[in-house]
């Protein structure tokens, strides 16, 4: 157990920058093609280590849950590993572990992911990929496992509903996305309502070749990558027509206070702001570095933590998604001083939007974002994150090569203009959990 100087924001460093970063500096070559079944494939050959990473991203995230069935996407993804072909969940886990491979994945608003890390030597690789193929193509969805996993899911929801950070995140999503799937969280009731048929239908509908981006990186050739992508995609269900998500509307500005006995208030301030691929993203990314994304280089960290000692963690980020993803300023502070902290945060935001960033801040932001690219690309695991996001969101491959130029082209006027349009303050929602 260790304590760190400042919290590591995995969401920020992984997903936000992933969306628009460059491989150019590391000389990485992305190959891209589409299989006969319609799966989009993204491949990087790296021969440095005898290993292979594979990720499949399906348009099967939480936003696609039918009304009243929130939680179905997560349950479906989890139950893929609950038995497949003639293997029950125990045999499946044993066989996969015996190959030395690691199966992982998860669900967010937009996508459901399955990842596989395996040794690239043919016996291990073939065995692991064969199991992955079985899991993807022939899940058995046993009723008993569904019943158990529903119980576990409901217990986890009830537990999370007692914890201030989880309450704050859920209330914030609900408040900035009223009447939209992005704002809906699973409840004990919505999970209880899920039937095995719902799971089967969701799988048949969403886990289709035409709905998937396949990313591969590691110690294999292009022809081997093609064979793997074909084998994985040709056994997927036919799939149905993907539902179009409703458009996102801006919320009414409001302050939501939630009672909780915690020592600290948990605060979120924000609204729906930007989608993946938006042309303004570079202006927002560069600007947010100075506002709250750049750690100790940011104004929020300087004013809230360094000058006043109000918080251990304070930051802001844009989280682009298929539809407008959130802009979120968040912090935790001793409950008796939360109003003082809120005033500081709001003053910083108002000043930044009116006058910031300074020329000096702009240079510092660009320098960190451009020069820091190399270390965001220095492992297969990090590259896989980029590949899968590029693939899933259909970003043009040149987007990456252009990254340094796009960052360097941003002007102060563009930052102010982009913030004014994407962060309209009259729509900002504030959530305070453990408010007095």
């Amino acid at each position: 157990m260790t304590m760190k100087k400042h919290p590591v924001k995995t969401i920020f460093s992984f997903l936000v920058l992933v969306c628009f970063s460059a491989l150019a500096t590391a000389g990485v070559k992305i190959e891209h093609w589409t299989t006969a079944t319609g799966a989009r494939v993204y491949f990087v050959e790296t021969r440095g280590l005898p290993m292979l990473d594979v990720q499949l991203d399906f348009a099967a995230g939480n936003a696609y849950a039918p009304p009243g069935k929130a939680g179905l996407p997560g349950l479906t993804r989890g139950l893929l590993e609950a038995g497949a072909g003639d293997l029950d969940e125990e045999k499946l886990a044993e066989r996969m572990t015996d190959t030395g491979a690691q199966l992982g994945g998860g669900v967010d608003n937009d996508r459901a992911s399955m990842t596989l890390r395996t040794l690239s030597a043919k016996p291990e690789r073939d065995a692991a990929l064969s199991l992955m193929r079985t899991v993807l193509s022939a899940p058995t969805f046993p009723q008993a496992v569904l019943t158990r996993e529903k119980e576990r899911s409901i217990a986890a929801i009830r537990e999370a509903d007692t914890q201030p950070n989880a309450i704050a995140a859920k209330r914030f999503a609900a408040a900035i996305y009223p009447d939209h799937p992005y704002g809906v969280s699973a409840t004990a009731e919505s999970v209880a309502a899920i039937t095995r048929q719902d799971v089967v239908d969701f799988y048949q509908q969403h886990y289709a070749a035409k709905n998937v981006a396949i990313s591969l990186i590691g110690d294999i050739s292009r022809s081997e990558a093609e064979a793997i992508a074909n084998q994985l995609s040709q056994v997927l269900p036919a799939g149905g027509t993907l539902a179009t998500l409703p458009s996102v509307a801006l919320p009414e500005s409001q302050m939501i206070k939630v009672a909780h006995p915690a020592a600290q208030s948990h605060v979120h301030i924000g609204l729906p702001a930007v989608r993946c691929g938006d042309a303004d993203y570079f202006s927002l990314l560069v600007g947010n570095y100075s506002l709250g994304g750049g750690g100790f280089a940011s104004r929020l960290m300087q004013e809230v933590r360094e000058k006043r000692g109000y918080a251990y963690s304070v930051s802001s980020y844009f989280y682009p998604q298929l539809l407008a993803g959130p802009f979120d300023i968040n912090l935790q502070t001793k409950r008796s001083q939360v109003n003082d902290a809120l005033k500081v945060v709001n003053d910083v935001l108002i000043t930044f939007m009116a006058q910031g960033p300074t020329a000096k801040e702009l240079v510092a932001a660009k320098k960190n974002l451009v020069d820091g690219l190399a270390l965001r690309l220095d492992s297969n695991a990090k590259l896989l994150g980029y590949l899968s996001t590029i693939g899933f969101y259909g970003l043009p491959l040149t987007y990456l090569d252009d990254f340094p130029a796009r960052v360097n082209a941003v002007t102060i006027a563009q930052v102010r203009d982009a913030f004014a349009r994407h962060v309209p303050r009259e729509h900002l929602v504030t959530v305070v959990v453990a408010a007095d």
């Binding site: 157990m1 260790t2 304590m3 760190k4 100087k5 400042h6 590591v8 460093s13 590391a26 790296t46 440095g48 280590l49 290993m51 125990e90 886990a93 996969m96 572990t97 015996d98 190959t99 030395g100 491979a101 199966l103 890390r117 395996t118 040794l119 119980e151 217990a155 009830r158 537990e159 509903d161 007692t162 201030p164 909780h260 006995p261 915690a262 020592a263 600290q264 750049g294 750690g295 100790f296 300087q302 933590r305 000692g309 109000y310 918080a311 251990y312 935790q332 502070t333 001793k334 510092a364 960190n368 451009v370 020069d371 820091g372 690219l373 190399a374 270390l375 492992s379 297969n380 007095d436």
Partner: protein, 461 residues
């Protein structure tokens, strides 16, 4: 002597130029500067980046009662200015280089790191060498930063029921050994910590002979050694305070504690005292304990998930862990949340039954093979991450082992037998060395929203 590398060895090294050691197979190289600072370099040329870490062999276990948390507080203060560098400049310089940086404090050590494009390494070494010797933080900066640390404690522990259970379990398990104190410190100690306490900590412990530098990445080790001499070589070494063993007296009977906090599910943590790794060649039990932990909770097919979460569904979650690479006392932990409708007592019985079953019937050859397969594959996977490789080197060095032992540690685990695993299960899992800590969940409406809950620790014996 507790550690293979003794204080005397380090001070001796301070007056003699040390040879350079190399292991071409591992691409790892080591030298010791005349001031006693050791420099370990692992060359990895896959990408044009580098991890630079400075580890100080001092952690919360070296603190005294009344000033708990000072090791971690000083870690925060290391990001203030030096005699040459204005306050806040350290972070700005790292950011301007396109880098990322952070630091961490453990019971056993305090470490600082930067991940940077390789061209920035000399500047990072200059910055770290400077704050190793020339840190200068003002009383005003201390007063502000200690408030940040208190917010960190509220976030990590005071509002985190499972962290409170962890804190209470350690507090009950150790009476004499400093592992009884939380790394972040007691809140009351933080409230009374002074600038002098932090400054004294720095002047006592931050010296080249109590530190080592770990560099992993796209570098030439000879160039790194040259830069190390240039930047770190100018720092003067001084003697360290005496470290007393503070060994824990033998535990003679189980201990139980409970914590009340707002939550829905109870949580149970069971902690047995077990040996740590002392002699990488001769020890056997620590390796067998590693395998036992992995058979219980090391992979997707492990027993706790299979039997307690999936099979009987007594548990919402269940885990097991052993860390034998520590300077102080090692523990073997089993923990978990009972499933809704099941009690803590049922979960405790189920966890005990898992141990009892291995005591009686042992583990299967298939389970052992599975653990070893994952271990061997993991040796390849870890090389994908520069940070993981640097952490591994730094972690073993922190407890007095050597990076040269890393492959041996893996080989030793590969040699563990089913009989050895059964033997350690029989030998160490007795109630007399057991501490059990339980979260007693409180309904939210029962708490007065105006009053932050104080973590009330109830002790039975």
């Amino acid at each position: 002597m507790k550690f293979p590398i003794s204080l005397a060895t380090l001070l001796f090294a301070a007056v003699l130029p040390a040879p350079t050691f190399a292991n071409p197979h591992l691409n790892t190289f080591e030298t010791t500067l005349p001031n006693g600072l050791r420099v370990i370099v692992k060359e990895d040329h896959r990408a044009p980046t580098v991890v630079h870490m400075v580890w100080y062999r001092v952690g919360s276990m070296d603190e005294k009662d009344g000033t708990s948390g000072v090791a971690h507080a000083l870690e925060h203060l290391m990001f203030k200015g030096t005699k040459r560098l204005p306050s806040g400049e350290f972070n700005q310089r790292v950011a301007a280089a396109g880098g990322q940086d952070n630091a961490f404090t453990s019971y056993d050590y305090t470490a600082y790191f930067q991940i940077v494009p390789k061209g920035a390494l000399p500047e990072m070494m200059q910055l770290e060498a400077d704050r190793m010797a020339n840190l200068a933080f003002t009383p005003a900066e201390f007063a502000s930063e200690i408030k940040v640390v208190m917010e960190e404690r509220r976030l990590r522990t005071d509002d985190n029921p499972q962290a409170q259970v962890f804190e209470a379990a350690r507090g009950a398990a150790f009476l004499a050994h400093p592992y009884r104190r939380p790394i972040i410190g007691w809140m009351n100690d933080l409230e009374h910590l002074t600038w002098q306490d932090a400054h004294h900590w720095y002047t006592q412990w931050y010296t080249p002979s109590n530190a080592y530098v770990v560099v992993v990445g796209d570098v030439d080790h000879r160039e790194v050694f040259r830069l190390a001499q240039k930047y770190y070589g100018v720092n003067k070494a001084h003697a360290l305070p005496e470290r007393k063993p503070q060994n824990e007296p033998e535990q003679k009977g189980w201990r139980r504690v409970s914590i009340k906090a707002p939550a829905k599910l109870p949580y149970l943590s069971m902690l047995w005292k077990v040996p740590r790794l002392r002699d990488v060649h001769k020890d056997r039990d620590p390796y067998a304990l590693e395998v036992l932990a992995a058979v219980l909770d090391g992979n997707d097919a492990s027993r706790l998930a299979k039997n307690l979460v999936r099979g009987t569904h007594i548990a919402q979650s269940a885990g097991a862990g052993y860390d034998g690479t520590v300077r102080g006392e090692a523990t073997f932990t089993m923990d978990g949340q009972p499933a809704e409708g099941r009690s803590v007592a049922e979960l405790e019985a189920a966890l005990r039954a898992e141990i009892a079953h291995i005591q009686e019937a042992g583990i299967t050859p298939e389970e052992l093979a599975r653990v070893k397969t994952q271990l061997i594959a993991g040796q390849t996977y870890k090389r994908d991450s520069l940070m993981a490789q640097a952490m591994e080197i730094g972690g073993v060095e922190a407890v007095g082992l050597s990076w040269r032992d890393i492959d041996l540690l893996v080989d030793q685990i590969k040699g563990v037998t089913v009989e050895e695993v059964q033997a350690v299960a029989k030998k160490y899992f007795k109630d007399d060395t057991l501490t059990i800590a339980v979260l007693d969940p409180q309904p939210m409406d029962a708490a007065d929203p105006k009053q932050p809950l104080s973590p009330a620790v109830k002790t039975q014996h």
